[in-house]
Subunit: 135 residues, 2 copies
């Protein structure tokens, strides 16, 4: 397992445009990309802050994971994503340490990354994602 | 307002020692400091991940902010802290944009930083901290 940095922080918001306005006008960050991830039922907006991205997530459907999260917990930080250099190996390693995975195999995420989630029940309440950049 | 990077991510946990064990043994990160912040009624543990710290927070009292957070929402990500280079100026600037501050003036946080919190009601559900490193 070799985590190099925090790749991104996923934040669930009700209204992407209003949240983008706050991150740009108040915090002075710059939205460089808006992307829909159909598979995850979300529209995303990205900001670079040092070496880490902020990924705002608006649900495109009430029954998507972000829609359900907001219904239960309200808007707020949804997940934490670590950059790893060998995703499948990292998944195998944490599994061997009795951590339950949501995704046993890498899948495609936003920005062309390969991603996989660990189950928050086994990560002290933090929905944890591993990301691998494909060259 | 000039945010350079994400200074740290605060994560509320019930048991600091068990959580440290997960971050070290499973994620392969190294805890470099454990510190009690009496004022905030927390014991903290720090890990460096690239340019960002993970700050685990265990409440030393049920009526502290972390104790109350866990009672209401369970363990998980508690706040997001941005590094700024002029804290008082940054606070004045966001206040002028109608964001309500929890701390109108900087106060002392862990690791000798000057810190202040913005109210999550005005930051799309994310308890947001600004940190300034004092040289």
């Amino acid at each position: 397992m070799n985590i190099s940095h925090i790749e991104h922080i996923g934040i669930a918001v009700k209204n992407l445009n209003e949240a983008i306005k706050y991150y740009e006008d108040v915090l002075g960050l710059k939205c460089y990309s808006v992307e829909e991830v159909v598979d995850q039922k979300v529209k995303t907006a990205f900001f670079m802050v040092g070496q880490t991205k902020i990924e705002l997530l608006e649900s495109t459907s009430a029954d998507g994971p972000i829609g359900k999260f907001i219904a239960k917990k309200g808007e707020g930080i949804h997940h934490l994503a670590f950059a790893v250099n060998d995703l499948q190996n990292s998944l195998d390693e944490v599994k061997s340490k009795n951590i339950i995975l949501i995704d046993k195999k890498p899948k495609k995420g936003a920005e062309g990354l390969n991603i996989a989630f660990l189950h928050p029940k086994y990560t002290f309440g933090v929905l944890t994602e591993f990301c691998e950049k494909m060259e």
